[in-house]
């Protein structure tokens, strides 16, 4: 049995999970999700690491592999690093075995990954440098509208006449939105408009990677936004993408889970080859 920890250092939150792996059986033992809020990610990661150990009642030496993902490349106490699309793909399979593609909506970049049933990445695509339609933007707007994050989805679903948010630039779009408020457009219609425009960009990524099997798993924090999920599904129908987007209450943990699982896998493989030294 292998004990591994996955740490996903995001731009907004750090997700940490502890897994026990025995062959094809995975036991999810402990978890943490900490908002970074201007704190030092490295310290926070260490704290989370200690806390999941405590929760699992384990010592540091009980852990065989600590894998980072996301922005965690230079976390010193990790055994290895996997890049986030690798981990999200695996995490998605764990949370929903039907998944054959992942849409990860981070605070700044969106990513689409296509994989096989074992979580092997086949192709992927990321949004480019220009941050239009990012999660950050949605966060800013919702603050502007005085709406809580967990409220966005619900409101967006009430839209009856979504407003077109056309601006390419996120900043100019912000003013677009302000203009909408001043024109008396309702919050649901604005939010839905933003969701639609974000979905458009994200689904385009799916189209590029030719997602056409199984279901499309939504990972990351924004996956819990039901309004966005609706927009994505609508957009997928419009763009003739044959899969359906689904989320999972543990969607935010997908990256961390993937890291833990790959970590265990790598550990076993290295142990087989007898080259454990490389792992640390």
């Amino acid at each position: 049995m292998t004990t591994s920890i996955g740490i996903d250092v995001g731009s907004g939150c750090i997700k940490t999970v502890l897994f026990k792996t025995d062959g094809d059986n995975y036991e999810w033992v402990a978890r943490r999700n900490d908002k970074i809020r201007q704190r030092d990610p490295k310290e926070l990661a260490r704290r989370a690491y200690d806390e999941v150990l405590e929760e699992a009642g384990l010592k540091e030496s009980d852990v065989q592999y600590t894998a980072t993902t996301g922005d965690g490349e230079n976390i010193e106490f990790s055994t290895g690093h996997f890049y986030s699309m690798t981990t999200h793909a695996r995490g998605a399979i764990y949370l929903n075995p039907e998944s054959r593609s992942v849409l990860d909506m981070g605070a700044l970049n969106g990513r689409a990954v296509k994989m096989d049933e074992h979580g092997k990445v086949l192709t992927y695509r990321m949004t480019s440098q220009c941050a239009s339609g990012s999660g950050q933007f949605l966060e800013n707007i919702s603050r502007y509208l005085g709406i809580a994050q967990n409220e966005i989805g619900e409101l967006s679903k009430q839209a009856d006449n979504p407003e077109d948010v056309s601006s390419i630039c996120a900043v100019l779009a912000e003013t677009d939105v302000i203009n909408m408020v001043s024109r008396g457009i309702s919050a649901p219609n604005i939010l839905r408009g933003i969701h639609d425009s974000m979905a458009g960009r994200l689904v385009k990524l799916l189209r590029v990677i030719k997602a056409n099997e199984g279901v499309t798993f939504l990972s990351g924090g924004l996956a819990l936004d039901e309004g966005l999920m609706d927009s994505i599904n609508a957009s997928m129908v419009k763009m003739k993408i044959p899969t359906k987007a689904v989320n999972h209450p543990d969607s935010p943990y997908a990256g961390a889970i993937g890291a833990a699982i790959w970590g265990a896998y790598r550990y076993e493989k290295l142990a087989e080859q007898g080259s454990l030294a490389i792992a640390s």
Partner: protein, 439 residues
């Protein structure tokens, strides 16, 4: 009396200037722009009228024997302080009430009472704490209610929530919602009463005035009785198309900035304005007439809003960014000025071990570099050069600008007026005045 008013409805702030028929500026007012443009211009105008009254008080008091310059200034300073405090507390109370109402929202079933309890404690602490902001000699972080109340609310709410076992995010959400409602409520009009009450307080405090308080009271009352007529209003700025004005009352912000800069510094030939989401380079002639201009294109990289994102990321006030950057010992090179990625860039650099101050200096330089391109596009810099807009308030930006101007254009007279944020509104007011007086 006749008043000419220019209103500059910017993407971040709304400014108003009141001018008399001779072209003298009587008052200036500013507020943050908000979704309700009407309210924004109303508030800015109201602020400008408050400032106008203060100017007029000054003029009136000058006539009183025994009150010389310094004493008048002190008296008026304290008058304004008391006046603002009352205004502020009134709004704070409004905010409290609104929060309490919003606590009844469906999303917090059965929690209203508990939330209200927490709110009561938090607001009491807030009022207590914030009163201090209006103490004599205190420098406030911002001029806007939103910022003043907001930043302190975060701290107090977090601590109160913890103590009283309340979810912090709930308090934030209620606040976010309420502040918008409060902001969009037209302010209470009883300015006169507030001034008089404030005056009474000042007169109680100031015992060495060597002038009869009754005379002061009378002088102030006289000004308050004066009817300030809105003779002609000109609107400009990003939001001008949404202003409730007919077309002849609207001028492009380029023209207004050109003229405004000319009025402040008649020898100006080049104007740089960095606002919230646009950067303009304007060339004007000896009469303040625009001969050429350039603006940033469809990408809002490197505009004032960029600093806003940075400030949010660091949880600082806009006022604090410049001073922090001034502490830098070197300038980190920053290339992407995409506003949205500003935060990411900052984190990236921090994780590489760069110092905050140095990164900040780099960010400021990046903004000014972009502005320099826009100026270059509009035809370069001619003597004299005037820097206007909100970013001109930022000392670090100014420092970078001075360096780059020197490097690229040699010795040029650089003008920066403390009131430069009002340049557009000033130009607008002058257009308003000319429309009537020179028609």
């Amino acid at each position: 009396m006749k008043c000419y008013i220019g209103i500059d409805l910017g993407s971040t702030t709304t400014k108003a200037v009141v001018m008399d028929e001779k072209g003298e500026v009587l008052g200036r007012g500013i507020t943050n722009s908000r979704s309700n443009y009407d309210t924004a211009s109303r508030v800015a105008k109201l602020e400008a009228f408050i400032s106008t009254r203060l100017t007029l008080f000054h003029r009136q008091l000058e006539g009183l024997a025994g009150l010389e310059g310094e004493k008048i200034d002190r008296l008026l300073f304290n008058l304004e302080r008391h006046f603002r405090l009352e205004l502020f507390l009134e709004q704070l109370e409004d905010l409290h009430q609104t929060c309490a109402e919003n606590a009844g929202d469906l999303r917090y079933p059965g929690q209203k009472e508990k939330i209200c309890g927490v709110l009561d404690v938090a607001f009491a602490r807030l009022a207590d704490k914030l009163q201090g902001l209006f103490g004599p000699g205190v420098v406030r972080k911002s001029d806007f209610f939103r910022d003043l109340a907001g930043s302190e609310y975060m701290n107090i709410a977090e601590e109160t929530a913890k103590e009283m076992g309340m979810n912090f995010d709930t308090l934030i959400n209620i606040y976010d919602k309420s502040i918008i409602e409060v902001e969009n409520r037209p302010p209470n009009a009883d300015m006169e009463g507030k001034f008089l009450r404030a005056l009474t307080k000042v007169l109680e405090e100031e015992t060495d005035l060597s002038v009869d308080p009754a005379d002061v009271m009378e002088a102030i009352k006289k000004v308050l009785d004066l009817d300030l007529e809105e003779t002609f209003v000109v609107g400009t700025g990003y939001g001008r198309v949404r202003l409730p004005f007919p077309k002849e009352h609207i001028r492009s912000e380029i023209l207004c900035h050109g003229l405004g800069a000319h009025l402040m510094y008649p020898k100006t030939r080049t104007v740089l304005d960095i606002g919230g989401q646009d950067t303009k380079g304007i060339q004007i002639d000896d009469k303040g007439i625009v001969v050429n201009f350039q603006m940033n294109d469809r990408c809002a990289a490197g505009c004032g809003r960029y600093l806003g994102y940075i400030a949010d990321e660091m949880n600082l006030g806009l006022h604090e960014l410049g001073p922090m950057a001034m502490q830098a010992t070197k300038t980190v090179r920053i290339n992407s000025t995409c506003t949205v990625f500003a935060g990411a860039e900052l984190r990236d650099r921090l994780s590489l071990g760069e110092k905050r101050e140095d990164i900040m200096a780099g960010l400021h330089r990046a903004i000014i570099l972009r502005a320099m391109s826009i100026i270059s596009r509009s035809g370069g810099i001619d003597d004299e050069f005037t820097f206007t807009g909100g970013v001109a308030k930022n000392e670090a930006a100014v420092k970078q600008l001075r360096e780059l101007v020197q490097e690229n254009y040699g010795d040029v007279q650089i003008n920066i007026d403390p009131d430069s944020i009002y340049t557009g509104a000033l130009g607008g007011a002058e257009f308003a005045r000319r429309a009537v007086e020179e028609a």
